[in-house]
């Protein structure tokens, strides 16, 4: 079942995606990511429950990351599933996106995690 939830805590917004992110709703994801970046200094997109993502979904994430860099926001992909990772690797984007294990590690624009142990 496809789903998108959003949660804000400690100055970070996490958008949690589930199911198959494809052309049918990737534009909603894009809007949600760009809106979150307007409101929050740190945004993470949590992808552990994503079983498939197509190029339009990846494009939404790319645009989000570029927007974050332009406007001095922190951005990361959080808990990336194997299915998402294989699509990222196809275009070598696994070496471009900040990828973190959990929401606490979403970096700010300087690369410093929000929370330090």
């Amino acid at each position: 079942m496809n789903a998108m939830e959003q949660e804000t805590a400690n100055g970070s917004t996490v958008i949690r995606l589930r199911g198959e992110v494809d052309l049918s709703w990737s534009q909603q994801v894009r809007r949600a990511v760009l809106d979150a970046l307007e409101a929050s200094p740190r945004v993470g997109v949590e992808l552990s429950g994503v079983s498939y993502i197509d190029s339009s979904g990846i494009a939404a994430l790319v645009e989000g990351f570029q927007n974050a860099r332009t406007h001095g926001r922190g951005f990361a992909l959080v808990a990336v599933s194997d299915a998402v990772r294989s699509v990222l690797e196809l275009a070598r984007l696994d070496r471009v996106f900040p990828i973190v294990a959990d929401a606490a590690a979403i970096p700010d624009v300087t690369g410093t995690p929000a929370w330090k142990p």
Binding site: S55, E89, L90
Partner: protein
């Protein structure tokens, strides 16, 4: 859609070019997630079979179903839906020479989707990255080498993330390194983007590397469909001729031969 419906189902397909029969009642089926290689020498009918699957030729008899739809009899609307779900990389590339590489790759997205321009730009450039042509979007097709044209054509074929990809002679005319890279890419496309892929080739090495299953065509007949190991072990003499690059023995029928040379009705 019912998961049990094969993506491709060809039944008793016959094709003729003039008086020459090219396909002799071919049956052919591909299930989701497979990489199927259609192998055969020149004149085996493999390109004709491909043209029928793409709807470029209409069957004289027999049927071709893609995603469960009989493409010769489907409504225009159904045909369009099928077309959006397939990608085709033609042997010669078939890039539009008046458009840049980037515009060529973006074309299906502009034709078939209502995505915003920034998404289209990112998606098409992403696919150029996938085929190792990152940054080449502003060049014209005439400025590309043969191998680059082939890769740009592949980028356009996969820009919509098709469920079903047809790839005609991926290795033809390429140097061995680029050819090996393309083979690798075909495997990764299936695994990452869950594509079902049909490759038409006469390159044995490439066929054995990428195929889950191989269909061997010869003079319009399917000689066999099987795994790489099954094809290698096949007892059929024609298959062994193909595998061992032995020239075929041409049967000469004296009456038929003379008729061909002397017949006046063309």
């Amino acid at each position: 859609m019912n998961a049990a419906v094969p993506l491709i189902e060809v039944e008793k397909l016959e094709a003729w070019y003039g008086k020459r029969r090219i396909l002799n009642g071919v049956d052919f089926r591909v299930d989701a997630g497979e990489i199927r290689v259609i192998m055969g020498g020149s004149g085996s009918g493999k390109s004709t079979l491909l043209r029928h699957m793409l709807g470029l030729n209409r069957p004289v008899s027999g049927t071709v179903r893609l995603f469960g739809k009989d493409i010769a009899r489907a409504s225009e609307r159904d045909k369009l839906e099928v077309r959006k779900r397939i990608g085709v990389s033609f042997q010669g590339g078939a890039l539009l020479t008046s458009l840049t590489v980037g515009e060529n790759v973006a074309l299906p997205l502009r034709e078939h989707t209502a995505l915003d321009e920034s998404t289209i730009r990112i998606m098409s450039r992403l696919k150029l990255e996938v085929v190792n042509l990152g940054g080449f979007q502003d060049l014209m097709p005439a400025q590309l080498s043969g191998g680059m044209v082939k890769r740009a054509a592949l980028a356009r074929a996969i820009v919509m993330d098709p469920r079903l990809l047809f790839f005609d002679e991926p290795s033809a005319g390429l140097d061995p390194v680029v050819s090996a890279e393309l083979d690798e890419l075909i495997l990764r496309l299936r695994d990452a983007l869950r594509m079902t892929i049909v490759v038409v080739t006469h390159e044995l090495e490439s066929a054995f590397k990428i195929a889950d299953t191989i269909t061997v065509l010869d003079q319009g007949d399917v000689l066999m469909t099987g795994t790489v190991a099954e094809v290698r072990a096949a007892a059929n003499e024609r298959i062994q001729d193909l595998l061992n690059r032995r020239p075929r023995e041409v049967q000469v029928d004296a009456d038929e031969y003379l008729r061909r040379l002397t017949r006046e009705d063309g």
